[in-house]
């Protein structure tokens, strides 16, 4: 997990939380030469480096299992190289000086590079649908396992924040003025703090004694109807939990995609206050990673860490500590009230 926190080399939640005063959180990156051959590295734009390094770290932790499929979700792909090539075409009367940015701008560049480095010929897909990108990738991984087409799927979510992306979406009021990320929820203005990250996972049909024991019980995505209706969200959650063989009474913890936007956070607060049982604990995370299309990957990482350690890190906690074990953990996220997603995790120990 490469993120704006010290998660690169950490196996659990980092001891210290990084505070930034900014309108965007920037990843703490490893020395890529430790993970990628310099000859290949030279050609790679930042997002490719992030993707490859985090995939490599994940595989190392999984005893270098050979994946039966490689699936990536990215909302923006290699936006930086796309912008580069586009501006060359526009500004230089189509006299382009380099072909590499064009090649890198294909959305499946990260997945393709991973396959090339591993010499892996298996199923390889890239999803690029905004706030659904990561969850679509995760669902596909689950489907492959159900279909018995794969035992171990390498899947991940990755997005990079570029200056141009900040600028354009700033026009639309996406961002707050620079502030401390630790005060994200306390700030009552509209907008949020931008982020980025790359998280890769091995989704496996088998559990293993020395690997994290989070079991994925289900993934669900939906587009919210317009005008937005909180009851609709509650209904979707109820149906999702029912299909997974459980209900809201059994959910022990919920990780909410609260991002500090006074308008868009309302649905999260409504659920937190009105929907779940009294014993349910609530968490938030976007003050740590920022808001980006595949932030759900950070949430999944956090969820699996919480389940394994049976402990909610203080800096992510919204509610008082409960003594109940955390058996079912629900992740609920949406991107500006449009793409909503739910992931249900269960602790494999119980």
């Amino acid at each position: 997990m490469i993120s704006p926190q010290s998660t690169c080399n950490a196996t659990g939640f980092p001891a210290e939380v990084v505070e930034s005063v900014a309108d965007r959180l920037i990843c703490i990156e490893p020395d890529y030469r430790e993970h990628i051959n310099p000859i290949q590295l030279r050609r790679m734009p930042r997002i490719l480096r992030m993707g490859l390094a985090s995939a490599q770290i994940c595989l190392n932790r999984a005893n270098n299992v050979s994946p039966d499929a490689i699936i990536v979700g990215t909302g923006l792909g290699c936006l930086d190289n796309l912008e580069k090539f586009l501006l060359e075409v526009l500004d230089h009367d189509e006299h382009v000086t380099s072909v590499l940015p064009f090649i890198n701008s294909t959305h499946n560049a990260v997945a393709a590079q991973i396959a090339m480095l591993l010499r892996n010929h298996s199923y390889n897909i890239t999803y690029c649908h905004r706030g659904f990108s990561f969850e679509s990738a995760l669902q596909d991984a689950l489907m492959l396992i159900e279909e018995k087409q794969a035992k171990n799927v390498l899947m991940g979510g990755i997005d990079e924040c570029t200056d141009d992306f900040m600028k354009l979406h700033g026009y639309l009021g996406y961002w707050k003025k620079p502030l401390s990320n630790l005060r994200l929820l306390a700030d009552k203005s509209s907008g949020t703090i931008a982020g980025e990250g790359s998280a890769f996972f091995i989704i496996s049909s088998e559990s293993s004694p020395d690997l994290p024991k989070a079991v994925i019980e289900g993934v669900h995505t939906f587009l919210a109807p317009k005008p937005f209706d909180e009851n609709n969200v509650a209904q979707e959650i109820a149906q999702f939990l029912q299909k997974a063989g459980t209900d809201r009474q059994e959910v022990d913890a919920v990780i909410l995609g609260l991002n500090g936007d006074a308008v868009y956070d309302r649905s999260y607060w409504a659920l937190r206050n009105n929907y779940f049982a009294g014993h349910t604990e609530f968490m938030y995370y976007k003050h740590l990673c920022g808001e980006y299309y595949t932030a759900g990957a950070f949430a999944l990482w956090l969820g699996s860490v919480v389940l394994e350690n049976q402990n909610i890190p203080d800096k992510t906690r919204l509610t008082r500590k409960s003594s109940r074990p955390i058996r079912y953990l629900l992740l609920y996220n949406h991107f500006r009230n449009t793409e909503h997603s739910l992931i249900l995790l269960k602790n494999g120990q119980f």
Partner: protein, 407 residues
């Protein structure tokens, strides 16, 4: 011991049928115009007229409507200027497919959507990006620039709110969208799914392929000894896939019987010369369809007309089919290479071939490739077709093969 998983497998895997198709390309708007092009061997490749370019001399395959006319066909009468060409194409094709399938109420079946595109709203990127970097004058189109815009606009048109997503894997994108759609049905997540892909012609792709030196200066010549590159096209293709449990029998066009996606893992833009990836994709697709090579009636090849692809794919076909190579052709000399739309477009052509029991012709062919024992079929002749292979191989080594069968 009773193998519970086997029984579960049977219940789990309903057949998947194609019940609706919609298409717009350089060959025409809708299946009738497209078929007419095939019967009359009329290519859609011609001169660039959509925008000004330094490369105006390079042949392209444009949809013969400007955005205003496309908007009319797409049923858009307000805020026309906020719809990218890509989205307009997607709406036109989707509307056809939905109507074709008899779909009237989205909520009557569990319905989803999987779309595909390679460059999304790039036409608006080209028009407005410079201006956007300088001021917010055109901020109302910012949401149209990415790859999800056309998917969400089409989903909104038909009120599809669940299982909506977009795939982008270069030239195999919409073939992969079809594959995912089928799997969503077979794993009982959906009963019906709108799948397909779209891409509009842009300076971005024209210049990108030109820098890679794989554009044909004459119009592509798939499987010809003197082939000289690919021709970029544009368009959109949509299919409605339905579970056998809920499909209406008289709407069934053909069956989506098998599919496979593999990765060449060789080079960012080129395939191996021995066709390893293409062979693997076709083998796995046949395996998934439980068919032998002998049972394939026709191959709609990826056949871009580049030196490497046609050699690579040709060799793979030789290896797999041995002495029993069925008729092969590439329809890209009619439509150009429509990138994100290509896989779906060619799946539709395969469906039409099965429905009307005809072969699909190639064009611009004069001399057989010395490395291959076959040449493409060149006329839309009547032919008994049971199972058709449709190949889509893309940048990043993404190779997908679909198998469609007579219903």
């Amino acid at each position: 011991m009773y193998n519970k998983s086997q029984k579960y497998k049977q219940v789990m895997y309903p057949r998947v049928y194609v019940t609706g198709i919609g298409i717009i390309s350089a060959t025409g708007n809708g299946t009738e115009e497209t078929l007419d092009s095939f019967f009359n061997l009329r290519t859609g490749i011609g001169k660039l007229s959509l925008f000004r370019s330094t490369h105006a001399g390079i042949p392209v395959a444009e949809v013969k409507y400007n955005n205003t006319i496309l908007a009319g066909h797409a049923g858009i009468y307000e805020h026309v200027n906020t719809f990218t060409r890509n989205t307009l194409l997607a709406l036109v094709a989707s509307e056809q497919a939905v109507n074709n399938s008899g779909w009237t109420d989205t909520q009557e079946k569990h319905t989803g959507m999987v779309w595909a595109t390679t460059v999304g709203g790039m036409d608006f990127n080209e028009q407005y990006y410079r201006s956007l970097l300088e001021s917010d004058q055109h901020k109302d189109i910012i949401g149209t620039l990415d790859s999800a815009d056309c998917t969400e606009k089409v989903a909104a048109r038909f009120n599809i709110r669940h299982q909506v997503t977009t795939i982008s894997t270069a030239c195999s994108s919409s073939a992969n969208a079809i594959m995912l759609g089928a799997r969503l049905i077979r794993t009982n997540r959906l009963q019906r799914v709108l799948v397909g892909g779209s891409d509009s012609l842009t300076r971005f792709t024209l210049n990108g392929f030109n820098a890679l030196e794989i554009l044909s200066p004459t119009g592509c010549r798939p499987f010809d000894m003197n082939r000289n590159g690919l021709t970029i096209g544009e368009g959109a293709a949509a299919l409605i896939l339905e579970s056998e449990e809920t499909a209406e029998p008289d709407r069934i066009i053909c069956e989506l019987r098998g599919y496979a996606n593999v990765n060449e893992a060789f080079h960012a833009t080129a395939s191996t010369v021995d066709g390893f990836g293409a062979l693997l994709a076709m083998e796995k697709a046949l395996e998934s369809a439980r068919l032998k090579p002998l049972e394939i009636s026709y191959i709609n090849a990826h056949g871009t007309g580049t030196e490497i692809n046609d050699l690579s794919e040709g060799r793979a076909i030789e290896k797999l089919f041995g002495n029993h190579i069925p008729p092969v052709s590439s329809t890209k000399a009619f439509t150009g290479h429509t990138l994100g739309a290509a896989g779906a477009m060619e799946a539709i052509f395969s469906a039409l071939a099965l429905k009307y029991q005809i072969l699909l012709p190639g064009l611009n062919f004069e001399a057989q490739m010395p490395e291959l024992s076959f040449k493409p079929c060149l006329k839309a002749d009547p032919y008994p077709l049971n199972h058709v292979v449709s190949n889509s191989f893309g940048f990043g080594g993404s190779n997908t093969t679909l198998i469609l069968s007579k219903a």
